[in-house]
């Protein structure tokens, strides 16, 4: 039983990462109907960039470490957001009139470029690199399970960021513009909404959230690798679908559900089968409740 609780706990933290990345996927899909396969790789690149920066900044005194991590984290969030915006500007935006299929294949191409780009950088390569900062083991005990403070912080930060994204979309004028663009791009443009700007913002937010997830992942797991984005990206997209695509709350919920499912699955069947659990879950879901747990929010055009 306590093992089970342990797995649920692990699943929750896993879910926090999935959720943050899933929100990015979900928002881009909601507004463009595009599955941005490179999104997971933005996450991976962010992890490597933060690795490089933290390594260079040579984290010194213990009490300065967290301060450093925070400002590096914010910097990386900004840079990842920027990366996403640039990717959109260079690739997806010029292709906006092409068939969706071609866009998705281009996204695949970008994904390959990012992954293999990192792979081919001599200092990095295919190895698992140790992150310069590791999470402190100090924590608290709930019943018989031990949680660390850092885990709690991850959940809180992820929650706050997701909440921020949610409030942005539902309460602000910008959010309203986003929803308008995702419903009917042409009408939105006719209403005076700067569609390109809105799309850029969506990419920025998604990228920034992925950046935050990257730093937290690096610290939490202590290791990064050039393929980490690809697997996580898949899982995050599945999470987004699970929770209801286009729906931020859904993305977060989906992330948590998937995180727990994977964690339990790993406990029962071994790590190899974790990804199988993901996809069996997805197929089952599509059979039973195709619009996701919270329902999808993508306009039907007819």
């Amino acid at each position: 039983m306590e093992l089970f609780l342990n797995e649920i706990g692990n699943g929750l933290f896993l879910g926090a990462f999935f959720g943050l990345i899933a929100v990015g996927y979900s928002m881009v899909y909601g507004i463009l109907r595009l599955i941005n396969f490179a999104h997971g790789d933005f996450f991976m690149v962010a992890a490597f960039v933060s690795y490089a920066i933290l390594g260079a900044v040579a984290v010194g005194h213990a009490h300065m470490v967290w301060f450093t991590v925070i400002w590096v984290g914010l910097l990386v969030m900004f840079l990842t957001g920027l990366l996403a915006v640039i990717a959109n500007r260079l690739i997806y935006h010029p292709m906006r009139r092409a068939a969706l299929l071609s866009l998705m294949i281009a996204a695949l191409g970008l994904s390959q470029v990012l992954e293999n780009g990192v792979l081919n950088i001599p200092a990095w390569g295919s190895a698992y690199l140790t992150y310069p900062v590791t999470s402190p083991p100090s924590g608290f005990t709930l019943g018989t399970t031990h949680f660390t403070w850092f885990q709690l912080i991850i959940v809180i930060i992820s929650g706050l960021l997701s909440l921020g994204a949610y409030l942005l979309v539902s309460r602000t004028l910008l959010g309203k513009a986003m929803r308008a663009v995702s419903e009917d791009r042409i009408a939105a443009a006719l209403m005076g909404i700067n569609v390109d700007l809105v799309i850029a913002v969506v990419f920025f937010i998604g990228g920034a959230l992925a950046g935050a997830a990257a730093v937290m992942t690096g610290v939490y797991y202590g290791q990064i690798n050039y393929l980490m984005g690809w697997t996580v990206g898949l899982e995050a997209f599945t999470a987004a679908v699970l929770g209801g695509i286009g729906n931020i709350g859904g993305a977060v919920l989906g992330g948590v559900v998937l995180g727990i499912a994977q964690s339990v699955g790993t406990g029962l069947f071994g790590a190899e089968w974790a990804i199988v659990v993901t996809f069996v879950a997805l197929v089952l879901l599509l059979w039973l409740r195709p619009t996701g747990i919270l329902g999808e929010r993508v306009a039907r055009r007819m």
């Binding site: 292709m95 191409g109 197929v283």
Partner: protein, 342 residues
Amino acid sequence: MSQNLIADRGSRSTFATKLPQRGLILAVVVLAALVPHMTGDQYYLSVGYQAEMLICLAVGLNIVVGYAGLLDLGFAAFFAIGAYTTAVLSVTYHWTILSTILPGVFISVVCAVIIGLPTLRLRSDYLAVVTLGFGLIIQTIANNMSQFGGPTGIYGIPTLTIGSIVVQSATAFYYVFLVLVIIFVFVSLRLRNSRIGRAWLCIREDEDAAQAMGIKIHHYKMYAYMGGAVMGSVTGALYAPALTAISPPSFGFSESLLILMAVAIGGMGSVWGAILGGAIVVILPEAFRQFSQARFLVFGFVLIIIMMTRPRGLFPEGAFRGTVKRLRARFGDRPARSRPLQ
């Protein structure tokens, strides 16, 4: 092919009007068949049949992605199912290679239905992720179950015999796969020029309008996915004896991506594009072996650039129409109503 040749009302395609096109195809086939006579080098010939194999897979995927417009990112799974079924049945149960083809096809089609039924009914966008997952699942199963040899795979796959012909050398497989290419291309074109192919194209272009024609879109999407499964599976079944040993790393996402690139770069919706793409994807890296590590990096760039400049690939369907018209204008008896080659 007929749509290329109906020009004026009331015209019937005669043998003569189809000649340029058929002549070209025949020439290419003859040339391909002569390659083993031009070089006996087993290395080149093995590259040759690997290219042919990829072309077979690309033609199969072209039905799913090119004709029906469904993004399948796990096509290697069907290839794997075909190969592993053949391997297991022939090694453990001593079936002949040829007899293992049908069971492999059957399993592939069943899987296609399980995966496709819920997904294709809804949003085809999800098919991409589901097929990706399917590919991973198949690879994971192959990698983790001892019945399938685990990470080391299955070796000692017996020789392929067709009647009294023993197929063992690279030359022999070159011919076998050449025949397979011809069969697949033939079937693909036949399907294309029937109501099935037209239905697929309609679905690809505009699902809602397709339904208004009475097309049951979900059925046809399923047919396309199944058609691809069959072709992938058959190719896999012959891959096993060609390599005599198979292992999980050959059936991963990279392989699915490679096949997709062949279709996307070569030209979506056109078997000729699939052939070109297949050839490019196999032969080019061989020519630049020293860059093997950066191979996919280059591919990624190429993919992006081609998608941005020619979103439907280098030679999508319809790309040859202008050429045929100009050829006919040159050698035929009617002035061409010229349309620029797009």
